[in-house]
């Protein structure tokens, strides 16, 4: 009892300051969003104004595509790496997770080096077909960049989940006559579903908001964070930028909230 009182007395003021620090800017953001010439209608403009709507749609499509591709790749690689012991395994894991340390701008830069105007892929394509292949600056490059960013994180989550699988459950399935394919379909993949939900949501949220990568790559495609940046810095349209920010925040927050309730609270820690 006395220990609790002590803690409460020490911490209450700090808690108030911390809450204010988080709540004030958010509140300000919501207010500014409705402060332009159109008032609260700025929020509607996210859906009615073709430019904003199209960038929202493009962002969501890109985020979903990134999430699906990341989950598939990371599951296959994660399962393989965790289940098989081979020489160089730890080197491979270190390589696969190295991009964790790279900020978005570096990833964007690397994609340009690979698929940009002077990129490796372009040169190989020219040598083979006579035509340069350049996709770094459109949706393709952004997609690659997001993958580069997301896959290492998701691989780690999947590997941790695979490690926690009870091998006896698989042995029980095999004793009942299930071959390798049935064991994967009925036992292993269902057991990984919580990990899929959790890391998929984070992957989606990151792709929705990733900025560093987009900034370097999105010269021919409009994703929402870029539009916000343009409205804000170049057009000085504070209200629209705020409205778009709130909209973007709500979409990603909803994705995280749904995944958290689907997979139980423990997953929140992985955020």
């Amino acid at each position: 009892m006395s220990s609790r009182m002590f803690v409460a007395l020490c911490l209450a003021p700090l808690l108030i300051v911390a809450a204010a620090f988080f709540v004030l800017p958010l509140a300000r953001l919501v207010v500014v969003g409705a402060s332009g010439p159109d008032g609260a209608a700025a929020y509607l403009a996210i859906l009615t104004e073709p430019r904003y709507r199209e960038s929202l749609v493009a962002t969501v499509i890109l985020a979903v595509a990134t999430t699906v591709a990341t989950l598939i790749t990371a599951t296959i690689v994660g399962l393989f790496v965790q289940r098989h012991d081979f020489p160089g395994r730890s080197v491979l894991v270190a390589l696969l997770t190295f991009p964790l340390a790279l900020p978005g701008v570096v990833v964007g830069f690397m994609i340009i080096l690979l698929a940009g105007r002077q990129g490796l892929i372009g040169e190989v394509a020219r040598a083979l077909t006579g035509q340069r292949l350049v996709f770094a600056y459109a949706a393709g490059g952004l997609f690659l960049g997001y993958l580069y960013f997301s896959i290492p994180r998701v691989i780690l989550t999947i590997m941790a989940s695979v490690e926690k699988l009870d091998p006896q459950v698989e042995e029980a399935a095999r004793a009942l006559g299930a071959g390798a394919w049935a064991v994967h379909r009925d036992v292993i993949l269902p057991a990984l579903v919580p990990a899929f939900i959790a890391s998929g949501a984070i992957c989606f949220a990151t792709a929705m908001g990733a900025f560093g990568t987009a900034f370097t790559l999105a010269t021919r495609t409009d994703v929402l964070p870029m539009v916000i940046y343009t409205e804000f810095t170049l057009n000085a349209n504070f209200a629209m930028a705020a409205a778009l920010s709130v909209g973007l925040g709500i979409v990603t927050w909803a994705a995280l909230a749904v995944s958290r309730s689907a997979a139980g609270t423990s997953v929140a820690a992985a955020g």
Partner: protein, 350 residues
């Protein structure tokens, strides 16, 4: 009863297991198990009992030269999914994404048994193990005892050729363990299927096994019925691992062992240097010290309810444990006589 008198006879021939790095966890062993028999592999952890079970299951390959035969047919290279064995694990190993009925019917589904037939078989299995009200329950809503019943029903649903259980009761608490042990005993008798049961608990082994295989350090120490193992242990390891045992050491003069507290008659004893003998705590009687040929002094006394556990000093080279009647009246420090009926002392070779 759906699977009465089923199962195969089983033969392990020269099965050993060496892991990379040269660690031999199992020395070459040969073991024969009759159709319908329940055999318990018993031993301390690391004795090789689980390895033996996994070789029978097909989860582990024996070293080159070892063979596993089901009804005389070599199945050594048949993978587990084709051996048709039922397995039950200590961790239950249920499929968390399926209902109780889904778990029990999984093997039948894999075998493409039609849905109606499958439901009938699943219901029969649930009845058999006493969980017929749990049909659509999720696995994580079950207690430990219920989970293990589901695992049992799942393992026997496909009428396996042999039922393999790896410490199925170890994860349960004591009272549940007792109840499930009784039910297992009935189940094994009524199914009549060939069963291999691995445990480190000698109480389970005694209660469930037609025969017990006592193992230590990767080898078989003794194979026998529960009462052979208990009354005629092959060596000191078996004597001390099974039940409580007093080990007596002393010089033998014809059929009498000379001990610090007097003399003890041993059937079949011959004069020699020093012999080692075993006597069980419940075989020793407490009598008046007057005229007794073997005496000692009560050192500690613990009332255990159904019996009184005494330790008696000065009778042998180390203190002797005696399980006396719970009605006996003695005090710590009392001098008492000890009697052992004929045939209750066993000479040990080592």
């Amino acid at each position: 009863m759906t699977a009465n008198g089923k199962g195969v006879s089983l033969r392990l021939e020269n099965c050993a297991k060496t892991y990379p790095g040269g660690i031999q966890v199992l020395s070459p062993m040969t073991l024969e198990i009759a159709r319908g028999e329940t055999v318990v592999l018993l031993g301390p952890s690391g004795c090789g009992k689980t390895t033996t079970l996994r070789i029978i299951a097909g989860l582990i390959q024996p070293d080159h030269g070892g063979r596993v035969l089901f009804d005389g047919v070599d199945v050594t290279s048949v993978p587990i999914e084709k051996r048709n064995v039922g397995m039950v694990f200590q961790s239950y190993a249920l499929f968390p994404n399926m209902t109780v009925a889904g778990n029990i019917g999984y093997g039948l589904k894999i075998r493409h048994v039609p849905k109606a037939e499958r439901r009938k078989r699943v219901d029969a299995m649930m009845q058999l193990v006493g969980i017929d009200t749990l049909h659509d329950r999720r696995v994580d809503q079950l207690s430990g005892g219920q989970r293990q019943r589901v695992a049992l029903a799942r393992a026997v649903a496909c009428q396996p050729r042999v039922l393999l259980l790896d410490e199925p009761l170890t994860a349960l608490d004591a009272s549940l363990r007792d109840r499930l042990r009784t039910d297992l005993n009935q189940l094994f008798r009524s199914l009549g299927i060939t069963t291999i049961y691995v445990t480190h608990d000698q109480g389970e082994a005694m209660a469930l096994g037609d025969r017990i295989v006592v193992m230590t350090k990767g080898t078989i120490a003794q194979v026998g019925t529960p009462d052979e193992i208990y009354f005629r242990p092959a060596n000191r390891f078996v004597a001390e691992f099974i039940g409580a045992a007093n080990i007596l050491e002393g010089p033998l003069q014809s059929e009498v062992m000379l001990l610090p507290g007097g003399q003890l008659h041993i059937d079949g004893g011959r004069t020699g240097d020093t012999a080692v003998a075993m006597v069980r705590p419940e075989a020793i009687g407490i009598v008046s010290p007057d005229g007794a040929s073997w005496t000692g002094r009560i050192q500690t006394k613990i009332f255990l309810g159904d019996r009184l556990r005494l330790t008696v000093a000065e009778a042998a080279t180390s203190a002797i444990v005696v399980d006396a009647s719970n009605r006996l009246v003695v005090q710590v420090g009392d001098r008492v006589g000890l009697t052992v009926p004929n045939g209750s002392v066993r000479l040990l070779t080592s």
